[in-house]
Symmetry: C2
Subunit: 190 residues, 2 copies
DNA sequence: GGCATAATGTTAGTGACTCACATTTTGCAG
DNA sequence: CTGCAAAATGTGAGTCACTAACATTATGCC
């Protein structure tokens, strides 16, 4: 019988928040590579070991991507007579257009750090592996050849990531806008 | 006053060859992650330290990419009234079409290992950073906007890499062919 | 207020990589 | 072929990310 809608956050939620907050802070101030997991843990009042109970690796403090379901749904709802490449691109457009605005500031902090850190750019790519697989499955389910689907997914995702990086650096545009522009580069017709 | 055109390889060349050979062998037999740098060094009759004198990191035994100059040249020679995206794609086509056949077997061994190892897929992407920068510079030098150039380069390179992976796994096609097909997915017109 | 359980800590170890310094090999000049 | 500078390699110690087994403490609920 809870009284209000907001209760005191559990300890787990609090340490998670502390790790994320101090992690981002240290990354921004000293750089990702120069920041040690032990330092983050210490700042959050916790042990190195505990950090790894919350994140499987240092880089996962920055890499999340829980957007796959919306993405594949958006691709699925594109007309299936389009070429896989165009279909995937339009799906991504639609998916990001409906991204809630309030989330973007934190995304920007994260993406900016990633964009500035070579080792993380690679990590990001590895991380999109799941998203790529999801897109491929969706395209294949609608009749595309597996080979074609894989190339299309990889290429479109690369454009998306490139757009994200530009947005994080540029400051003045909105996320949806940056992504639209990135995909325009790839799709001949507007 | 050297007599013939081929001389005894220097010690440096011999240890380098030994490291590459035993490294590829171990990676193929036991897997990349399960293979230790110490094991490779030992198999090559050398110390772990020596390995790192030849390669800045374990992954660099597989990642080379000395193809940038030919690539940018090929892009430069594409008609400059094309959109940057199409220009980059056609340039890559041209560049790989002229790749010497004899080199492809060793490339295939390497790419196959990379394609099968998630951590290396990321490393590969990080590694293409230089190539991407080179392409961007070339496109910008010919009048493209930096933002557009970056998206185009990233996207086209992703298609290239996807094509490489497919080729490495499929066995039956030729390299140039696989890349042509990959780029066809991306370029509307053939 | 007590107790199951979740959260955290401890210790020890592996593997990639770095650095400072010592030793051996190689190739070439005399 | 002798010797010697430079190149190649070795040694030992250390850092950091990450893992695993086991001990301890804190939380929240009855």
């Amino acid at each position: 019988m809870t009284i209000g809608t907001d209760r005191r956050p559990s300890k787990r939620e609090r340490t998670l928040a502390a790790l994320v907050e101090h992690g981002l802070d240290l990354f921004e101030r000293r750089g990702y590579d120069a920041t040690t997991v032990a330092q983050i843990a210490r700042a959050a009042g916790v042990t190195e070991m505990t950090f790894f109970r919350y994140f499987p690796a240092k880089e996962h403090l920055l890499l999340d991507d829980p957007y796959d379901p919306q993405l594949t749904a958006a691709i699925a709802s594109q007309p299936s007579d389009l070429r896989p490449f165009v279909r995937a691109a339009r799906g991504i457009r639609a998916a990001w257009r409906s991204l809630p605005e309030p989330e973007t500031p934190i995304i920007r902090r994260r993406v900016r750090i990633i964009a500035q850190t070579p080792s993380l750019r690679g990590a990001m790519w590895r991380n999109t592996g799941n998203t790529e697989r999801a897109i491929v499955e969706q395209l294949v389910a609608d009749g595309a050849s597996p080979d074609v689907a894989r190339v299309a997914a990889a290429s479109v995702l690369a454009a998306l990531v490139a757009g994200l990086f530009l947005w994080a650096e540029e400051e003045r545009t909105t996320l949806a806008d940056a992504i639209e522009r990135a995909l325009d580069v790839i799709e001949a017709d507007a």
